[in-house]
Amino acid sequence: MNDATELLLSLLVLAGAIFTFIGSFGLARLDDFYTRLHGPTKATTLGVGSLLIASATYFSVTGDSLSLHEVLVALFLFITAPVSAHLLAKAALHQRLTSLAPLPENAENRPGDALPAAPPSRAEPDTRGEIPNTPGGAHDTSLRERGT
């Protein structure tokens, strides 16, 4: 391996490390759940991408044949990262996490929601109070039925 390749590889690994770090740093620095989602899903793709290019180059140069495992890793990463980001965002909306951005109106009335009329986030203590009541009530009736 000559000096030029070594320099290129070092730069790639360094860039990869920096971008991965920025992505994780975003998690700590940003303020709400939704903006935090952006750091790990975006900045890390480039970070992992350059690490993978470095890995492929290194093993192709030093090994006896072309190494292309890394293409697959990148492919799977590009398929799975958006799906997990989407599901996290969806779960956050369902939980009505507080957001810096105003939630759009049609996000409020979702079919399949237990309490469609509840105002966002403030209703949480109320819902928590109601949850133990419902199974308790069901339990009571079942006991009564069993008794009769």
């Binding site: 740093f25 709400d32 903006t35 989602l37 952006h38 975006k42 900045a43 989407h86 957001s99 996000a107």
Partner: protein, 162 residues
Amino acid sequence: MKRLLPHPLLTPMLALVWLLLNNSVAPGQIVLGLLLGWAIPVFTLPFWPEQVRIRHPRTLLRFAGVVLFDILVANLKVAWLILVRGRHLRPAFVVVSLDVRHDLAISALANTICLTPGTVSARLSEDRKSLLVHALDADDHAELVATIKSRYEAPLKEIFEC
């Protein structure tokens, strides 16, 4: 024909993935890859009955190029936003009304939105007519929606529909 080879595109793709997994192009591996590429679509047919058709391969290639370039830009932009703007971002939810109807096109669009500049797709509405998108730093909401529609949705519509 349809029962023997339900997804003609999936077979070579699975064979290619098999070769990449093994990191080899030995004739034996090619045969095994093709065999798996034939068997897996046949056995998973109940989960995926609809055949995928790609109408404009050239548009698909150009779209892939645009998306790769945007991923690069997105990474630099998000890194910049995190480091410099930090706590002075203008995050926003925008609703993108969808023109595409095909399931695969919608999921490809949602995936693309998640991969590109400062946007994460958050929810598909029940009637599949609009997609809720969260943007990290949105200046002009209408412009953001217009960019998503023209840059990503239009080519996807061309590729998967008519």
